[in-house]
Symmetry: C2
Subunit: 307 residues, 2 copies
């Protein structure tokens, strides 16, 4: 699941105290310095996109199970989803549960599904909310979101965390509007990353669909240019996506019944910056101590204004 150079970079990050190991691969604490850099890049996105006038919304890390089901996520990515279980038994079961937990034995039989799952990608909570507001305004909507996402893929590659933040914009409008917005962000995203010293390539990509049928979906997604990623070598030799730009066509519009002002099914697209991955890429590129980073990068991130 991870190469020698990935593990070596993880070790260096933990040794320098930037990531705190918890014993579970892909689940780390972040030092204050790590968090300062992450929030600095997040702030840069805010400043650079202010004129776009996106509506800001923030969601907690959990999502109604019903909404995830509606998107078909459990068919496409069952291996990545995290669902939230809890206890609803009585005194006798609670006693047995507590005893087993104290002995670090299996207590999963005393857990049952709740109404929520973990959010797999920041934009998922947006669609049912936009749908509930009725038909779109004429110019559609643009939503700014950021939340902790979860994907169950334990790995010693620090760039493949199980719990991480995505900062996204979601465009919801007519096919023409959405296609134009999507195309624009391929270049805009590259320029934003380049401005902090991360020179990325834009490559056609696909989501990690499950199983044999998934291979067909993935090929189709690539062939149609629906997903582009800005990739950068973070921990290993192979470049990793640090930004993705996705055109969903009418997928979410149909799932949630979102319609344009003229009653068409709305199209949607989103871009997502992987905030932990970008933070790691900055440490990889400029060194593990932000005080020694190039002046222009520090100024751009306003890291020179701290303290």
């Amino acid at each position: 699941m991870s190469t020698a150079s990935e593990t070596a970079f993880l070790d260096a990050l933990v040794e320098h105290g930037l990531l705190l190991a918890t014993g579970v691969p892909g689940v780390y604490g972040r030092s204050g310095t790590f968090e300062d850099v992450l929030l600095a890049f997040d702030g840069l996105i805010t400043r650079e996109t202010k004129a776009d006038g996106a509506e800001v919304v923030r969601f907690p890390p959990v999502l109604p199970r019903d909404h995830l089901e509606t998107t078909g996520y459990m068919s496409s990515f069952p291996h990545l989803a995290g669902s939230v279980f809890s206890f609803s038994g009585g005194a006798a079961e609670a006693l047995e549960l507590g005893n087993r937990a104290a002995r670090h034995e299996d207590w999963s039989e005393f857990q049952s599904a709740t109404e929520v799952t973990l959010i797999p990608a920041a934009c998922y909570p947006v669609y049912p909310w936009v749908s509930a507001a009725g038909a779109l305004p004429k110019t559609g909507r643009l939503i700014d979101i950021c939340c902790y996402c979860f994907r169950h893929e334990p790995s010693h590659d620090p760039a493949r965390m199980q719990s991480f933040r995505q900062r996204e914009h979601v465009r919801i409008s007519t096919p023409e509007d959405v296609r134009a917005w999507h195309a624009g962000w391929v270049e805009r995203g590259g320029a934003l990353l380049s401005s902090v010293g991360l020179e990325t390539g834009a490559v056609p990509a696909n989501d990690p669909f499950f199983g044999r049928a998934g291979k067909m979906f993935a090929a189709n997604q690539r062939d149609q240019g629906l997903k582009l990623e800005r990739v950068y070598p973070i921990a290993g030799e192979t470049p990793t996506a640090i930004m993705s730009i996705n055109y969903h066509q009418d997928h979410f519009g149909l799932d949630f019944g979102i319609t344009t002002a003229h009653g068409q099914v709305a199209h949607t697209a989103c871009f997502g910056f992987g905030l932990e991955r970008i933070t790691l890429a900055l440490f990889r590129t400029h060194g593990l101590d932000p005080l020694t980073w190039p002046d222009d990068v520090r100024r751009r991130l306003r890291l020179d204004q701290d303290a």
Copy 2:
């Protein structure tokens, strides 16, 4: 689970767009305005405690299951814990899972426990991390944390969310140091809340221990003054805790083997501000539009510096 006035306040918050309903009680999106106020109070805590020199650490919303088991949480609060499950089957199970999910039927039998749970209180990830660093320095440690916590208690009281943020400081040192720090924060916390117009009482409190045996734990905790809460009426007539100050004695020190510089079992204490509850209390007190709030409150929160 909620009174008429609680539901009425929730309705007002949703109608004004400050909270976004998702269909699951206690799970809401936050508007940009809500988030600005929450982060403004979070920033006030940072400024007011800067001189304390706490080490800043941030954790994602998930915690190794093993750590939660070690604290005895599953015996004390089995009804509140959220555990993360996922899928690890093959193609046939995936197909059935996807089909059931698409029909909104039960697919929980295809889920099994992962190595993580949701974090129930912000300080839980701190203890195993501090323990792993070896004996404490002479003056102990002071840690600054903030994360999304989860408690499975669906309610229409907006002050009782399932997913919410706690901002905490954790003091880990000798019994004397920890007791002095704990006592100091009862007044300091009250002054901080009062400075934004929230006049709170400090009341002896207890954690919501499960079952009949739990009643004894709760009474004991109250009698010994181990938990104090700063309470304020948010949504209903009954005041709700918006800050808690907890002295754990040697509980976490023993659980995780944390020792002082002299080899004693370390004592621990923490304070926690409930960021969503404080934000709600501010809206309740000063009105649903922060632009109309008293000048001194806006200045104190630096809301006057926006835009």
